[in-house]
Symmetry: C2
Subunit: 334 residues, 2 copies
Amino acid sequence: MTLATVGEFNLIDQLAEVVQKNHQPSAISWRNLILGIGDDAAVWQSENGPTMATTDCLIEGIHFTLDTTSWYDLGWKALAVNLSDIAAMGGRPRYALVTLGLPGKIATSDIIQLYNGMTELAGRSKTAIVGGNVSAAPVVFISITVIGQADNHILTRRAAHPGEVVAVTGSLGRSAGGLRLLQTHCDELNEGGKALREAHLKPFPRLEMGTILVAEGVHCATDISDGLVLDLEHICQQSGVGAEIEVSQVPQPPELSTLFGAEALPLALGGGEDYELLFTAPVTTIAMIAARAPCPVTIIGRITAENPGNVILIGPGGKNITLNDKGWQHFARA
Amino acid sequence: MTLATVGEFNLIDQLAEVVQKNHQPSAISWRNLILGIGDDAAVWQSENGPTMATTDCLIEGIHFTLDTTSWYDLGWKALAVNLSDIAAMGGRPRYALVTLGLPGKIATSDIIQLYNGMTELAGRSKTAIVGGNVSAAPVVFISITVIGQADNHILTRRAAHPGEVVAVTGSLGRSAGGLRLLQTHCDELNEGGKALREAHLKPFPRLEMGTILVAEGVHCATDISDGLVLDLEHICQQSGVGAEIEVSQVPQPPELSTLFGAEALPLALGGGEDYELLFTAPVTTIAMIAARAPCPVTIIGRITAENPGNVILIGPGGKNITLNDKGWQHFARA
């Protein structure tokens, strides 16, 4: 069995079993652990409250190509995807460590630009870049670890309950639409097209929304990185619940259907990389969240006791629809 | 200017400047920071005491080849090099996050073996593997971040003082000798040769020694990863002091000269990857450390006020000698 046949999520389950088999329950580290492998970040108890750490990596040829991404935007995005995981846990970012793998032929000024983009976002999010590692490598990769702090309780994927509604921040499909535009090398974009491209290249993590969710008593959230349906499936699997989405309620930017027609919906449902927050809460809580939110908050469905682990898409006329491409999984498309 | 012309250490200095230029001194993260870019780990003040984080990466074709390294040993070593940084700061490891970049054609059982090696060392060092990230990639790489805790003060590279002696744990050149043996694909090794090979493939981080150094009042240390002379130069540069090494005092395992003759000394001085601790202290402290140490502790030289930033090698008859290859630097050999 190769990785290409088992897929990313199966592999992670198997690695988590190896970790569990060899773990030392009496060690301080394991005693203080709140959440290990399987959520947006790991969380442990410290004197300061719940402390969290997450890591994510962008690899040339897999996650980006230098044909369509500037070094500045690449630095921004490499940090943004990690900050989004901290937002999804309801935390505040504190410290970041940056590992760069770089071919020796790259211009030093390009790497300075990468750091300009990264430190711009670090400054805006009050994240201190405190260390890292630089190594020669055959392709460019950027692996970042961010350590964060929760003021209060944390948000997890395992806290959804039947009867709650499912909601999202912002609108979906923007990043996937922007990527399509970049791949077609279309230089003459209108404002709507430029906004989609910007959403793909420079996502802004929903850190403020994460802390608002915690303050309003929400307990279950994740960020939309792999795609709405796949990320909601992770919540369903870890919470032991099902979910129904009314596809007509999924918020899409108007330019998505203008530019992509019937393809807009699959982009919104499975495109991924929107880095919006997906959460569940009693319906009465949503209005309070929406009143404080710096962005739209939209109810798109509900959590059910039926069909645990599964997401059902309800289309026009109440009919169930299926999606060919639920979201991104490494190796599975190899 | 490309990375190959500026070299690893110059690049890191330039990136640290970008970080400094855009940092937010009023943010909690920056206010609590004790040590940023430039030491074995970053350190910040928390309610638990000094908390530290370090990251290091092994890349196929750069740091290892699968021809000579088993998956089990690779998992062990990838964690060991990070734990060595925690040891060099006088800390205790707590949590690790693991990023894997993997070609899809690899067998899942190989990655399980990698995790068997990693979790074996994690168990022995009371480190909890709590998260990470798996991605498709053109070559294998393993990037690990370890978060640790100090009981007391920390060890840094910037605390060496003239009049102190320079000392090392264990013996040097074993890893570089082992690598040479692996590269010659010599299968019929005697016990000495096997020990060198093991030292290269499965280094054991000096965590116990790190805490002994702190307890005995040492303040300046680093681990020998790039090579004795280069790592001591980092101490000299950051402390604003010079150093002299009596090369006849540098501890080498007997099999090194048996197997490599006149090449043994350059391997011990510049080979790197020994993951022994290199530290400075008043001469009276060394005897107390040696009495508690689980390994040999050897005085190899002294810290001087003269020649700040430089390491002088004193050879037979008191003559200065020069080394062609002081240690490992990425890009510089590209």
